[in-house]
Symmetry: C2
Subunit: 130 residues, 2 copies
């Protein structure tokens, strides 16, 4: 699978953008369990970024359980059965979120407010699980 990563349009650090795009790829089903990721050097060369920057992104993804890094062999997606259903989630949730954003924007509510509300419920639910 071809990994396309756009840089520069965001004000976030490069390693974060890489990480987020790969997470999105997994969630959308473009990246599936077992798929190999490009090596840190290859991906770095492709997008014009240093190998350490890619490595930093990979470390974050490993920490969060999205990928598995095998020394000397490569890195592979670890999505379990998540990816299959995740694509459906994005498909089915698009309208929901669009409606939510429309309501918020009509009231001039900043996007960060929605981010915070989402984070709040994430923290709440993840807190119960630990």
């Amino acid at each position: 699978m071809q990994l396309s990563i756009d840089l520069g349009s965001s004000d976030q650090p490069i390693y974060q953008q890489i990480r987020d795009e790969i997470v999105s790829g997994i969630a959308s089903g473009q990246l599936r369990d077992g798929d190999p990721l490009p090596s840190v050097r290859t991906l770095g060369a492709e997008i014009g970024v240093n190998l350490h920057t890619v490595n930093k992104a990979y470390k974050l993804l490993q920490r969060d359980g999205f990928i598995e890094i095998q020394r000397s062999r490569g890195t592979f997606v670890r999505a379990g059965d998540t990816a299959k259903n995740a694509a459906g989630f994005i498909e089915s949730s698009g309208r929901r979120i669009q409606a939510l954003v429309s309501d918020a924007l009509s009231l001039k509510i900043d996007r960060t407010v929605l981010h915070h509300m989402i984070d709040h419920y994430y923290d709440e639910l993840e807190g119960k699980g630990s």
Copy 2:
């Protein structure tokens, strides 16, 4: 109105946290149109932060139209008729967002994916307006 700002729990810069908390305050109705904000020195002293850091947050809020800065007089909330309805939005949207997060989390979908989807629709809708 008493402004309570928590720092340290986030990995975001202080001036962003201040900015976001005030936006949330406006959206939730705790801060209403015309309400005076603490001076940069007062708020800085309250939360243990330099005056320039607070000033930076205020400048962002001014740029986005959330507050009005009057030289030598003070800064005041400019929420229009937004704040009234915004409180209702948060009240009514809580369950919606909670359900959305539950679905996402059950699929191990990262919160950044939701952030991105929200940003996507924000950009889409704001793009039409310009």
